[in-house]
């Protein structure tokens, strides 16, 4: 099936969309996301009636997503491979509760180094967003991972499921 490898990063607490989007963008930029080949950012605001937009300027792309209560999806590029970055808002209220990154399966499988990069990126996002749960595996979304339900569980201290590529759970604030 035309599935994807999915990375979900679920935050301990929501943050304003603008701040969250920029934080994710900065983290991705620090992990080789967005190469010089990318000249168009495809933005899907998650609106049932709206077609994805193609926006040339990255700032505009991020602003477009931040301005949408549902937030939405921006397509990035890592090593010539599309990485869909979906900003998640639990109540579609403009606050960001997490982020989901997806890569098409064959591109991921044919480039073993992408696994390491995505895992490193996942760890970095986990830290930057103060995430409570970060998971990565094939077809997480396709197999019925309800991120809103998982978010509630994780924030309640429950670790649900196991994931083979990345499986982080930080129920309490760092103690050090």
């Amino acid at each position: 099936m035309s599935g994807t490898y999915d990375l979900f990063v679920l935050q301990r607490a929501p943050m304003p969309g603008t701040a969250g989007v920029l934080k994710v963008h900065a983290t991705m930029r620090g992990h080789d996301a967005i190469t010089s080949d990318v000249d168009v950012y495809i933005v899907d605001r998650g609106d049932d009636d709206a077609e994805p937009e193609q926006i040339i300027d990255v700032e505009q792309a991020l602003a477009a997503v931040s301005a949408s209560p549902r937030l939405g999806l921006v397509q990035y590029d890592i090593d010539d491979t599309f990485v869909n970055c979906t900003f998640l808002s639990e109540y579609n209220d403009g606050y960001m509760d997490g982020v989901k990154l997806s890569i098409e399966q064959r591109a991921f499988e044919e480039q073993p180094h992408l696994r390491d990069k995505m895992v490193a990126l996942g760890r970095a996002l986990h830290d930057e967003l103060d995430a409570v749960r970060t998971v990565m595996a094939w077809g997480v979304a396709e197999r019925g991972f309800d991120w809103r339900a998982e978010l509630a569980k994780a924030r309640g201290g429950e670790r649900a499921g196991t994931f083979d590529l990345l499986d982080l759970f930080s129920p309490d604030p760092p103690t050090r």
Binding site: S2, I42, G46, D48, D79, Q105, A107, R123, R143, P174
Partner: protein, 612 residues
């Protein structure tokens, strides 16, 4: 005509390599099965024995009963010999086994118990023979621990990053894992690591106060074991509960090894006419299987639930075939698969229960019998065996003292190599570290293909004929080879792609490709992926629950857009002229909502739903 297996092998190989029969197939099969070039070359020259084989082609069988995983623990390494040097034993490998090489100790030399019989993995080759016992340690802190030779420039933090970076969590940072290294090696009185525990809040020390001593060796434990120590290391309090928890670590792996090493007790009730033959070679077979299980798949067996059992079963059978001299045989039949699967499942579920472990041992033996029978049939010596003739006498040598492991993957043994970990499997690749898990065609009624055993069939409910059909398609061989490397969920998805292709063929659509990656216009990178492309259709297969979706969104929507770009703008003929778009088909494995169907149709997508 040859009268024994070696002769049969040589004759067959010589004939084949001379151009007769299906020669290239055998050479390819041998190579793919992991038999080293040296062995293949030996077959070509009529000398089936690797150079390391002694003149009589045999190594004196050991006195069994040790059955422990160990490592070479001597700075000079250890020479591997066909017998004690005092009695004229000669080296079976030109160089000593390096310090920190992993071995499995099966037994000792008759009348010289200070010499241990070991099986070792070195540079992708499987070796066996005798080494001096004092050069080995079997005092492992946990079943998948590795001994590491410290080199100049190594430091505790670097080793912690190397070994544990995948396991770091809040509250357990690198300093915790450095403490684990210190704790584990202090317990074993290893001189290669010194200093004080890190983390001033807990242990009163400062940063970077754990040092390594070059030239010595220390234990590296698995990330899972390190986590299991969390109740021990931070507090230093060895409460009964904490100790018990740690001691139970790796229980599944220990049970599986026990089911292998205890199997000789059940010959009389299981092995029948093959009992004596297999008994004669069991120390070698146990050594090979046990080393494989601990060195290559140990981490899989530490999981909370058995994963990759199908691959393990396939590889154990492949090793068994190689051990019986039939490395080129890709199938051992359904009986071997069934018994292998039963063996692993029973041992996994035993949790120390003796009755279950006994049954597991019996299944292990039954698997060996099935493999032996298949090997003999393959080698063409079945008729020479007879009820009273031992397999042992039919094979010279019964197993070469050196042959390559499947895939020639990293084993993480020996000085100079990257420190081995139990997670030697690494990322899945078609010919990954544990080798290419040759999918075996079963002989079950109905001709279902795959038959990987306990972990579920590699090819699901596809028939052997269907699998063969898919493999003949462009992209089909890649599809097939990938199956063994996938997680069960990913594999199930790949099987759905095959079903979509078969469905298209039933509709009279010749399939042009299964699993196509579409490059971007620039030729660099990937635009999108197409599951099945036929002469007239581009088919994307959709699993998951679309019963409430009203449109494609998110990842599905971007994929749809990119698929449309490919279909409508990028397909050109050989003359460079743009080709007309094909029909775009979405093949859902579960019924989508009416709204989604309507949305798709509005976009020009034909919706198909997999027949129940």
């Amino acid at each position: 005509m040859p009268t024994n297996a070696k002769g049969a092998t040589n004759a067959a190989a010589a004939s084949i390599l001379d151009g007769g029969g299906s020669g290239p197939l055998l050479v390819e099969a041998l190579t793919r099965a992991g038999v080293s070039n040296r062995v293949v070359a030996g077959l070509a020259s009529g000398d089936a024995e690797p150079a390391a084989v002694t003149a009589d082609g045999a190594i004196t069988p050991p006195v069994p009963g040790v059955n422990k995983t160990g490592f070479i623990d001597h700075s000079d390494g250890a020479n591997l010999r066909d017998g004690p040097s005092e009695t004229g034993g000669r080296a079976v490998h030109p160089q000593p086994l390096p310090p920190a090489t992993q071995v499995f100790v099966s037994g000792t030399f008759p009348k010289a118990p200070e010499w241990s019989y070991v099986t070792a993995l070195l540079d992708g080759a499987l070796l066996r023979g005798y080494v001096q016992g004092f050069r080995i340690t079997t005092d492992l802190p946990e079943p998948t621990a590795k001994l590491y030779q410290i080199r100049g420039g190594d430091n505790a933090e670097g080793l912690a990053v190397q070994e544990f970076s995948t396991a770091i969590q809040d509250g357990h940072d690198l300093r915790y894992y450095e403490n684990v290294l210190l704790y584990v090696n202090r317990e074993r009185r290893r001189a290669g690591i010194v200093g004080q525990y890190q983390d001033p809040g807990v242990f009163g020390g400062g940063a970077d106060n754990i040092q390594l001593v070059a030239g010595h060796r220390i234990w590296l434990v698995s990330p899972a074991y390190a986590m299991a120590l969390k109740d021990v290391v931070p507090s230093g309090s060895l409460t009964g509960g904490a100790v018990a928890k740690v001691k139970r670590f790796g229980g599944h792996l220990q049970d599986i090894l026990a089911s292998v090493t205890d199997s000789p007790r059940y010959f009389a009730v299981v092995a029948g006419e093959y009992a004596q033959a297999i008994r004669d070679h069991l120390p070698e077979i146990i050594g090979i299987v046990a080393l494989f299980v601990t060195a290559e798949v140990g981490s899989m067996l530490l999981a909370a639930s058995p994963t990759g059992v199908g691959q393990i079963v396939a590889l154990v059978i492949q090793l068994g075939l190689a051990a019986f001299g039939a490395a080129g045989l890709a199938t051992a039949g359904v009986a071997a698969l069934k018994h292998a699967s039963n063996w692993l499942t029973l041992a996994w579920e035993a949790n120390g229960d003796e009755a279950m472990l006994a049954e597991a041992s019996k299944e292990f033996l039954r698997m060996l019998v099935a493999i032996a029978m298949a090997a003999l049939a393959y080698l063409g010596v079945r008729a020479n065996v007879g009820n009273a003739v031992k397999i042992a006498n039919s094979m010279t040598p019964p197993m070469p003292p050196a042959f390559a492991v499947a895939g020639g993957g990293r084993t993480g043994v020996g000085a100079g190599t990257e420190a081995g970990t139990a997670a030697a499997l690494g990322p899945p690749t078609p010919f990954g570290p544990v080798g290419n898990a040759v999918a075996m065609t079963s002989e079950e009624e109905g001709g279902r293909a795959g038959g990987s055993g306990g972990g579920g069939s590699l090819t699901g409910d596809l028939t052997a004929e269907q699998v063969a059909t898919i493999r003949r398609l462009p992209g089909g061989e890649e599809w097939y080879n990938s199956l063994a490397t996938f997680s069960p969920a990913r594999r199930a998805a790949a099987i759905e792609e095959a079903k979509a292709a078969l469905d298209a063929m039933r509709r009279g659509q010749p399939v042009e490709y299964i699993g196509r990656t579409v490059p971007r216009r620039s030729g660099k990178g990937t635009l999108t992926e197409v599951d099945v492309e036929t002469v007239d259709e581009i088919i994307q297969v959709k699993g998951g629950d679309y019963s409430k979706a009203t449109k494609l969104s998110g990842d599905d929507l971007t994929q749809f857009n990119n698929t449309r770009i490919y279909n409508e703008q990028m397909r050109v003929g050989p003359d460079g002229v743009k080709l007309p778009p094909k029909k775009l088909v979405y093949y859902f494995t579960h019924q989508p909502s009416e709204a989604l169907v309507k949305w798709c149709e509005g976009k020009g997508i034909e919706v198909r739903v997999q027949a129940p």
